[in-house]
Symmetry: C2
Subunit: 206 residues, 2 copies
């Protein structure tokens, strides 16, 4: 762990993503981990390419017809993954009102960001039963957004090839719940098991 | 104009973006133009690369340090433009509550999508006075979102190198208002001057 923000290379994990989280991630009260300088407000596109390359080693990209993510913060990484994999992507939208039109897959989830139940929607026109889907998201805590996307894939009847998350807050349980369902083929690139005033501790890779 | 969705090549404009709008765009009541099959719900990443190449011919990319866009539908095109230009990008967020923290550039706009006033925010930590900014957005109607981004650039005091929009609804006036301010260096890749039950008519390029 590196307590200094002006980091040397002595504590490099050899992993660009984890290094950036260690050096630039901020832990706020309530176990909030802020990585908005490179992942979900200002976005480092070179790092997104590196992340896409990491996912391409984990998942069989040749099988995938479309990447699926959730607006808004999932879009940057999904866009660059899909571009590098040579496929389109779909971003599930948050319904703007209770008056939701027909022709949509819908899944309700509780949003901790919005502090209310929101409905994620995907048009049945664009996600098709013959699709082979890779779900990609930037962050996993309780897993509500990813579970809504898995629900939508199930409603569609298309094939889920895997679920890839960039940063998982391992101590909140969402990722481990997905690992107990091996058919989902869930992987996170950086699992944070502890985040407090002493810094960030990653789960050791098996 | 091509009234058929199963289009031949006889009416190709020689421009991949305009061809897709002609062939797949849908005109809904209220002059709503739906291009959600390739631009802002399902996203064609190869077309986004072509769009990035078009912007690179219009703007001096060597001067740009960061691309700025607005969540959510501006993110796909901004992500792939920034990646191809070798720079990071920032997406302005919609404030989630009235209780907005400090350290932010803020601009209020009326959102026709949300049918209410929303506040766009960008952290002062990530957009800096020394930045050279290219604003990129997917759609321009009245121009409210782009004007909020221009306002944020002005608050920051950084240099605006240009404003690029993928699809402009020319008949709604937002683009022409920006053209009357040549210092903004505004360009749209496809300007739609008419959209009704007879189809879509593009403004002729000068």
């Amino acid at each position: 762990m590196n307590p200094s923000k002006d980091s040397c290379n002595c504590c490099s994990t050899g992993n660009a993503l984890k290094d950036r989280i260690q050096k630039e991630g901020k832990v706020l009260p309530g176990n909030i981990i802020k990585v908005d300088g490179f992942l979900n407000h200002k976005v480092d596109t070179a790092l997104m390419e590196d992340i896409a390359d990491q996912f391409a080693k984990i998942f069989d990209i040749s099988k995938i017809s479309v990447v699926l993510t959730a607006e808004a913060s999932g879009i940057p990484v999904a866009a660059i993954c899909a571009q590098k994999f040579g496929v389109p992507f779909i971003f599930a939208k948050k319904a703007k009102s209770d008056n939701i039109e027909n022709g949509l897959y819908k899944s309700e989830l509780y949003s901790y960001t919005y502090r209310k139940t929101v409905t994620m929607i995907v048009s049945t026109e664009w996600l098709k039963p013959e699709d082979h889907v890779l779900i990609i998201d930037d962050f996993m805590a309780m897993g509500n957004a990813v579970n809504a996307l898995i629900d939508i894939v199930g409603q569609c009847g298309c094939t889920l090839e895997g679920v890839g998350v960039v940063v998982e807050k391992g101590f909140q349980g969402g990722g481990d719940a997905l690992r107990r369902r091996p058919e989902l083929n869930y992987h996170a690139l950086a699992v944070i098991d502890k985040a407090d005033e002493n810094g960030i501790v990653f789960r050791e890779e098996k």
